[in-house]
Symmetry: C2
Subunit: 218 residues, 2 copies
DNA sequence: TTCCATTTGTTCGTATGTATG
DNA sequence: CCATACATACGAACAAATGGA
């Protein structure tokens, strides 16, 4: 009768995803308390067990934190943030910056050597997105990171991709800082990204290496 | 009456720990099927929910794998092994090698700049251990990795240390292969390690970078 | 201080669905 | 088709911790 009733996904997973979405969208802010289990039962029309299973999953992932006799609180707004908070609670911005510098060049090099047509498509997509979002610095930075991640994926090295994705969320504020402090104009920064873009899609590994170094020097 | 009845720990946790112990001790081997849920209920004298919760925890941790309509199987003998299998199951040796090359040089450079007396002590310890274990190739390789990890720690960059440690377990067979295929003699390889060792403890960043590159070229 | 309502934690029981052999 | 075994979901009861009256 109802196509939506194809319930290939368990109720707890559905609840979990919905909660995660609400958290990531800021509906429940970091540090705040989410509704009680009885309230969530009412909201989602499922049993307490199902609610608890969903909460347990998000707790394991580090997004939530439960306090007996008090409530369930939002610990992080995303899995990445949770991962970083858990794993790298004592990491400095310098550490992140160094790690980025370390792998960015290798990634650019490998991406130029290995990028496939579908990689080019993705890279181009985010390159253009980045170029068209010059007004809003925040949005531009997000697109910037997406551009770099697309290049990382073109490297086809699963370890490097994983590392880059893990630290990329922390890069956001870092990149923004650099841009604001930079001596270079927006046009010059754009040019550097275009250099990297062209080098990668033309499979010029040496040029990609140089372009990556130049971007890191911003 | 019975000291053991202090049940500060939940039943499911107790069952979980007991199962994990049995798995790690090899009572249930990797790939084999553990008893069915009803059997486990009988064994531990708890409800099916409790059994299932314990199994779910170990499944999440990657130690077990449940197959509906078939049984529950041992996937890994320890959490560490599980973590590796889960995260880098599709990683090739080339990926690891590339990632290593990528960060090894940066690590050597930073270690030379930042190593403290206590770092020198550790590096020296494993340097000597490595030198004195020339007979057994396997032991030598282990000491080799410990030597490199000591250097990584001297970089004082938590992210790079973490990454290096994560991939180092996969490095063992890789390094062994390289040694066996190498054109260089044991003495020459030793010399390269001594170069790196001396460069780092003398805070010579450039020499450390070069030494690291030479070692990677083995 | 004690008491109590709230909230999460733990455990049990039961029913039904789904996959395998 | 059937027995077995895991998957999912619901309901219920009590324990334990918290915070406020």
């Amino acid at each position: 009768m109802n196509g939506k009733l194809i319930k290939r996904e368990s109720l707890s997973k559905q609840v979990s995803k919905e909660l995660e979405k609400m958290i990531s969208e800021g509906e429940y802010e970091v540090g705040s308390k989410i509704p009680t289990e009885p309230d969530l039962m009412e909201m989602f029309q499922v049993s307490r067990n199902t609610i608890r299973e969903a909460i347990q999953g998000l707790t394991m992932a580090g997004l939530l934190e439960t306090k007996q006799g008090n409530g369930t609180f939002v610990r992080a707004s995303s899995r990445f943030e949770a991962n970083m908070k858990l794993k790298y609670s004592e990491v400095s911005l310098d550490d992140i910056s160094e790690a980025r510098n370390c792998i960015e060049i290798t990634i650019a090099h490998l991406a130029a050597l290995r990028c496939q047509p579908e990689d080019v498509e993705m890279i181009e997509k985010y390159y253009n997105k980045r170029k068209n979002l010059q007004v809003d610095e925040r949005e531009n930075t997000k697109a910037d990171i997406e551009f770099h991640i697309a290049i990382a994926k073109a490297s086809h090295n699963l370890i490097l991709i994983d590392i880059y994705q893990t630290i990329s969320d922390y890069l956001e504020s870092h990149i923004l800082d650099r841009k604001l402090e930079s001596q270079l104009s927006t046009q010059e920064i754009d040019q550097l990204h275009e250099d990297l873009f062209l080098a990668v899609i033309h499979n010029d590994a040496n040029a990609a290496t140089i372009a990556a170094k130049n971007i890191l020097a911003i």
